[in-house]
Amino acid sequence: MSLLLSRAAERLYWAARYLERAEDTARLVRAYTEVIVDLPTTVTTSWAPLLAVVGGEQAFSAAHGRSDAGERRVIQFLLAEDSNPGSVAHCVRFARDNLRTTREVLPREAWQVVNDLFLYVSAEAGAGAARSARSRFCDRVVGEVQHLDGILSSTWSRDEAYELWRLGEALERADMTTRVLGVRAASLLAARSGAEHGDHAEVQWMGVLRSLSALQMYQRATRAPIESAEVVRFLLSHRAFPRSVAYCVARLRASLGALPHVERTLPALEELEALVAAVADAGRGDADGVALDADMDRIQLRLHALDATVADAFFAVGAAGPR
């Protein structure tokens, strides 16, 4: 019989999700900025796609009304704005709050790292929006979350708490990968025929890979030029790459298998696995971006359903924590 409190489990799961979200958002902002910087200034660029990836369009217009999504405002929104539940600042704060009350379950050093990151982000996120400081800020956020991962990997016993952490992390990561595929890749595919972006397609696809730290591994795996169908296939199905959807789903299976109530969580997992396989088989790389976008939406819905199942199986017995 397990002795991990439901309340602690919920806080760990969500801390992992928030930190993954913070890391992925920082990575995304960094990569997108690099793409824009690489493009000639004659090309008109929009920062709206960034908002679309994180699903922040509604929150942004709620916060800023009809003002246009200019670079400064969007970056500020994504890095520092507390009213945006997806901002790096917000995510790090929530993760830290969650860990404050579950410290005895994690390796001791883990709290130190998260708390230090929180203090850094609190102080620097606002300034980090400026282009000159941005990559240093994003590097730090990504680096510290990876630092934390190192501590967890090497000193945390593979117990239920650990598996719940990896569960939340994998779910969030899969979600982010599908978002990038859904919005960025889809819009690139859709615009492929248009002359405007055609000349810079490779740069933009590199940006897609970079936003998931996938460029180097893509090149090692495919030994082919950067091309839409291959990129989509890699990010969706390349099991060896730790940020691919397929890898994350395999991680979900491993974690759920190590936790109680498997009979309750398995059905939702199997539905997700089936959908991912079906989408991979359909080979969307060549088809129009609209279908790819729709497929990614469907995967996100299955991820959401799995999240609800997890909450029902493990957290419902206990009191609510921050979500």
């Binding site: 991990l4 409190l5 309340r7 009350t101 109680p260 017995v317 009191a319």
Partner: protein, 476 residues
Amino acid sequence: MPEVQTLAGFWDELRHADGAPRPAAEELVRQLSGLSLAELRARQALAELDIVTMGITFTVYSQGNGVDRAWPFDVIPRVIAAEEWRRVEQGLVQRLRALNAFIDDLYNDQRVIAAGVFPAELLKESANYRPECRGVRPRFGVWAHVCGSDLVRDRDGTLYVLEDNLRVPSGVSYMLENRAITKRAFADLFARQSILPVDACTDELKRVLTSLASPEAAEPTVVVLTPGIYNSAYFEHSYLAQRMGAALVEGADLMVGEDDCVYMRTIGGPAKVDVIYRRVDDSFLDPEVFRPDSQLGVAGLMRAWRSGNVAIANAPGAGVADDKVVYAWAPELIRFYLGEEPLLANVPTYRCVYPDERRYVLDHLRELVMKPANESGGHGLVVGDCASRSELDECAARIEAEPRNWVAQPILSLSVAPTLTGRGIESRHVDLRPFVLSGAGHYVTAGGLTRVALREGSLVVNSSQGGGSKDTWVVE
């Protein structure tokens, strides 16, 4: 040692009046003599850095906001000779045997009242007496499993018990952390002399708690019940849970089933709990029985406890003996229940509930410390030679209005110990809180938490009001 500013007329814990070190403190004083003030300050700074890094905090509340403060610590330890300590240990164990017998008696036969030793009307007006505990017989007859008895030393060297804290006494974790920090600051001294270790304390606590479970439980589940992160001693709750390998739970994590057993909400489902080390006050413990608005407790917990399905340490209702008025009866309780003379002295205490003693108090306010029965943390105290005329008048009025609630004691000349201040090493007043664990047997911590009043001339040692602490060495 760098020039020490001493205070004449007070007992110095480390040195005789002529400046020569007390035998048990010789090694420490020798080491300190070899250090310049700068070097000592450097060790203090390292200790403070340790405290921040290790996250040793306590929380102070003002204007509704809680601030986590780093634990205030002075690096110069306080020393006690082991021979003296052994006598103190015996005195404390004797005292706890009597206090536990008293609590058990009050909730059962009340022989002590029938025998005319303890006045019935005091019980009626006692804020901490819980009628809901009548008829309960906890294992071993022990209600106060953890007690922090505060000791002070007067000018002539006599150690007195100042008060017994046995509701939810705190300080064990800080005592353990003080030792960990001091071992780093004065590592060589630990090799050169025999300083009794304190580390076994959490193992002993675990052993006591486990022993309270009903015999059927093969591997009893022990939990630490905390009010949560907003409690000033949360650090300690978390620390003790970790050291004992016990789950740290809040009220919302527990529930009482239809079988009157207590369960934890785990991801695997409800898991039975056998022993609860609770750091939640009685009045918040069970909304079914005590304060119905409490979010910190568990509905039905008293039901579970009364039926013997769960053990609670300290037991509900134990606070009846944590009362400055009951304190005054301690010597008589020792005689009544044990047939022994007290080994450790009580401070002479005037009980305002008695007209003649009340009269004496009102006539000698300036020479006494007036204490309200149920406040904790040093609040509500009126120190006669420091208070203003209007404060004394107000105190007199409150005594007349509620005499049962007040006791008074002579102002003690609390002993001092060398402490590092902004100006150098100066004497500051100290007290001592050892912890007594009671179960099948008894265990007393080797030394305990020495608290020091950091402000010059102050006698108030509580951390919430400007106090700090030192490591305590019991030296053979």
